[in-house]
């Protein structure tokens, strides 16, 4: 089978899934991945999808906007059906309590057993790749990604579930059920290879700040270089401290690892002059101030480079930061962004955080299958 994608904007989960099932009709898929607006009742959409597509493996989550083919959508559900020509084998596991340090032990034992290896560290990283979908309001993504990295060398890529900017409840889906304070892990053995795209539209600005006092569990930096964080950030940009927050979208900060940028996005200035981020920052971390570049142009180059490297893309999952979506909306370029993917079998969603080796912000992470 060739990969099929579909979307529905029907308002009831039953009608929406019926429409998806019609549009995705054909040979039985091995894996179905779906992303649904939080306007659908999560338990109902998960159950309906399971009824429609089992025995395929299924996983998904709620969103802050959906992506499919050549369009960006709201209040819809999008799905991709992947067959044996793309997915040789897949195992989906649920991590049900993100606060439990041992929560990944069982899921990874099960994954190892499914792929007939002694433990997840023995999985061949050239052939296996992971998808991670996580409750986007859990604040637990950093720890989750660290624990995944402790258990396996397989690269996991994914996103934090959204809820259409309501910030009340986000859900992840597997096995016909909806979960909170949870993550879904899927390990896939690709039939014909895979590649990863990480694209963020920023370059370094030339100035750096060192986090000298932090409240890591609150994702707050109290001081940069021994000064109140907002003041130090504003000084580095040459703007008044009172206008620091206005710079956040175009000048986030970034960890730079051998030239590769991992964006840390500031969220707000607190009453005490600290900066709260969308991900945690450890004391002693050196961060580069970043400057925005052209998102459309950068994304085109990233996807085209991957298409060339793989010799074609037969399926693409796109985890696109909600901050990127908001910027596209603000500048009237959502249609242009959607069009980048026209003709590609792609689904994705606007996330509350992106995952690739760690938890990152203002980035699009994508999983491409040949």
């Amino acid at each position: 089978m060739t990969t099929r994608t579909a979307y529905s904007q029907q308002s009831s989960p039953q009608d929406a899934v019926r429409e998806l099932a019609t549009r995705l009709a054909g040979p039985k898929p091995r894996l179905v991945v779906y992303f649904a607006s939080s306007h659908y009742v999560p338990e109902e959409i998960a159950a309906e999808m399971q009824r429609a597509f089992a025995p395929a493996a299924l996983l998904g989550c709620t969103t802050a906007g959906e992506l499919v083919g050549g369009v960006m959508l709201k209040n819809s559900v999008v799905a991709i059906a992947l067959g044996a020509d793309v997915i040789e084998a897949v195992q989906v596991e649920v991590v049900t309590d993100l606060s439990n340090p041992d929560a990944l032990v069982g899921p990874f034992a099960s994954i190892a057993s499914h792929f007939k290896v002694p433990n997840a560290m023995e999985l061949d990283t050239d052939r296996h790749v992971g998808i991670v979908l996580v409750d986007g309001l859990s604040g637990a993504e950093e720890r989750l990604m660290e624990r995944i990295g402790n258990q396996t060398d397989v690269i996991f890529i994914g996103g934090s579930a959204g809820d259409d900017l309501r910030f009340q409840a986000t859900h992840v889906f597997a096995n016909g059920r909806s979960y909170r304070n949870a993550a879904i892990l899927a390990v896939i053995r690709a039939a014909n290879g895979f590649g990863i795209v990480k694209t963020q539209s920023f370059r370094t600005h030339g100035k750096k700040l060192v986090a000298t006092r932090v409240r890591e569990d609150q994702r707050e930096v109290l001081e940069f270089d021994g000064k109140p964080a907002a003041q130090a950030y504003a000084e580095a940009l040459g703007v008044p401290a009172t206008t620091a927050a206005e710079q956040f979208m175009s000048h986030p900060l970034g960890l730079v690892a051998r030239g590769d940028i991992f964006v840390r996005s500031p969220q707000q200035v607190t009453a005490e002059g600290a900066i709260r981020f969308y991900c945690s920052i450890q004391a002693g971390t050196e961060l580069a101030i970043l400057t925005a570049t052209d998102m459309i142009e950068d994304t085109v180059h990233a996807v085209e480079a991957k298409r060339e490297e793989l010799g074609g893309i037969s399926a693409l999952l796109n985890f696109n930061c909600i901050l990127r979506t908001l910027e596209l909306e603000k500048t009237g370029r959502t249609q242009a962004y959607g069009k980048l993917f026209e003709g590609l079998p792609m689904v994705g969603f606007s996330t509350y955080g992106e995952q690739y080796l760690g938890h990152i912000n203002q980035t699009a992470t994508m999983l491409a299958f040949h």
């Binding site: 990283t125 660290e146 060398d153 690892a257 051998r258 050196e286």
Partner: protein, 66 residues
């Protein structure tokens, strides 16, 4: 004393990287994301007891025996 952190980071990279260039790059990035940029430590970096304790804990979490 100096260079202990660099030594520990090198062991982590060697054992988790398994001589595979891609895995070495991945573990390097994971270390950066977890607060230890291997490029910022050298054999002359003065030993800091608190940092050494943190990097030892990190090695343990990564299932690396020192």
């Amino acid at each position: 004393m100096a260079g202990t952190i660099k030594k520990i980071l090198d062991v982590i990279i060697s054992k988790r990287g398994k001589g595979d260039k891609i895995l070495v790059d991945i573990i390097h990035t994971r270390l950066v994301l977890r607060g230890f940029d291997p490029d910022k430590f050298s054999p002359t970096t003065p030993d800091d007891a608190e940092l050494i304790a943190r990097v030892r804990k990190l090695a343990l979490e990564l299932n690396v025996t020192l």
